[in-house]
Symmetry: C2
């Protein structure tokens, strides 16, 4: 009844890549942690690099598919569009934390890790998701110029990536002020802030000292 070798490798890789980083995780430590033989990584996957891509594919593709499914139900309601974007990711991250295998840091780092971390398959779906949400935001916010909207969508991605990637840091600074395991609360905070940012006026000049 324990999962098979291939899945155990994926599980351990996910955990260690998240906590130690990809480059700091050797295949020896990884296979020891998984309780499998060192050579099995190269048998089931071709290389460490391919393993990394398999780990990310398994996590990110379901998230992005759920985003597309939820977006189809959101209409032009800005909060629902944002919910469709954030909820699948927050669910995946907090579910994994509850199961003792936190992936927050891994998900938070996918945009900024050096090297070609993502397979073309994952990249293609992420690009598709970006295009769909861009169109949805345009419909919901017809007064925001496309160039400003492009920046703002990246800011929406960024606040989420940072929330996941620096979750331990945020938790440390909170000192009980906020709960990082309350997903509805986190979603409310992210959505409220992102909606305010997306709707903001002033993509031209103004401000600065």
């Amino acid at each position: 009844m324990p999962p098979d070798t291939k899945e155990r490798i994926l599980d351990s890789a996910e955990l260690l890549f998240a906590s130690e980083g990809v480059a700091n995780t050797s295949l020896r430590v990884l296979t020891d942690h998984a309780g499998v033989n060192l050579a099995s990584v190269n048998y089931h996957f071709q290389s460490k690099d391919a393993l990394v891509q398999a780990v990310l594919y398994r996590r990110l593709n379901p998230i992005n598919e759920k985003r597309i499914a939820l977006l189809a139900l959101a209409g032009v309601d800005l909060h629902k569009i944002l919910d469709a974007f954030y909820r699948p990711a927050v669910d995946a991250v907090l579910d994994s934390a509850e199961q003792g295998r936190p992936i927050a840091a891994l998900v938070g780092r996918i945009y900024s890790e050096p090297g070609e971390l993502l397979s073309s398959q994952v990249r293609a779906l992420m690009s598709d998701v970006f295009q769909r949400f861009f169109a949805a935001f345009q419909s919901a916010l017809p007064n925001v110029p496309p160039d400003a909207l492009f920046w703002r969508m990246h800011f929406c991605v960024g606040l989420m990536a940072h929330t996941f990637g620096a979750l331990h840091l945020i938790e440390g600074m909170a000192r009980g002020r906020v709960r990082i395991d309350d997903r509805e609360e986190i979603l409310r905070q992210m959505i409220a802030y992102a909606a305010g940012g997306l709707k903001a006026d002033g993509g031209s000049q103004c401000a600065s000292s």
Copy 2:
């Protein structure tokens, strides 16, 4: 008049850590790039780890000191407070890019890199900066509850970190739509979005599907 050995090591380390990542940069490649001897790293710094901290200290402390100086002039004007927070970082990142030694990715990753990347010295100043800006935002936004403000400040940090950490990715997706070398434009976009997010109403319930 080339800079001395210690500085050349710092310069090369900064460049390679940014482009390849800390864990992927070996001291051999680093010292070859700097044109110095391998052993000089352990002479001038004690270890690779201490070198990492020295690299970050040199860049981050001036940024944080400028933030404090600008904040003192901002009063309770939200846009000026945000300008005080973002401008020193955007300046440092874009200056370095113009000089052919881009540090954006390095700065963008400091919050999410695994391991204890930052020295206690840098941590202390960053914590101080966070407290000061938190107080300033509270004065400028008396109606935002402290718990919501705590999240929102992290979102403000996150959109900046992601903008730097994923700058090459953003540039790739832009396809000429936006310019990533126009610092006043980037600052305008970041400040407008962050101001909208910070001011948003709805830290309680509402929204979601």
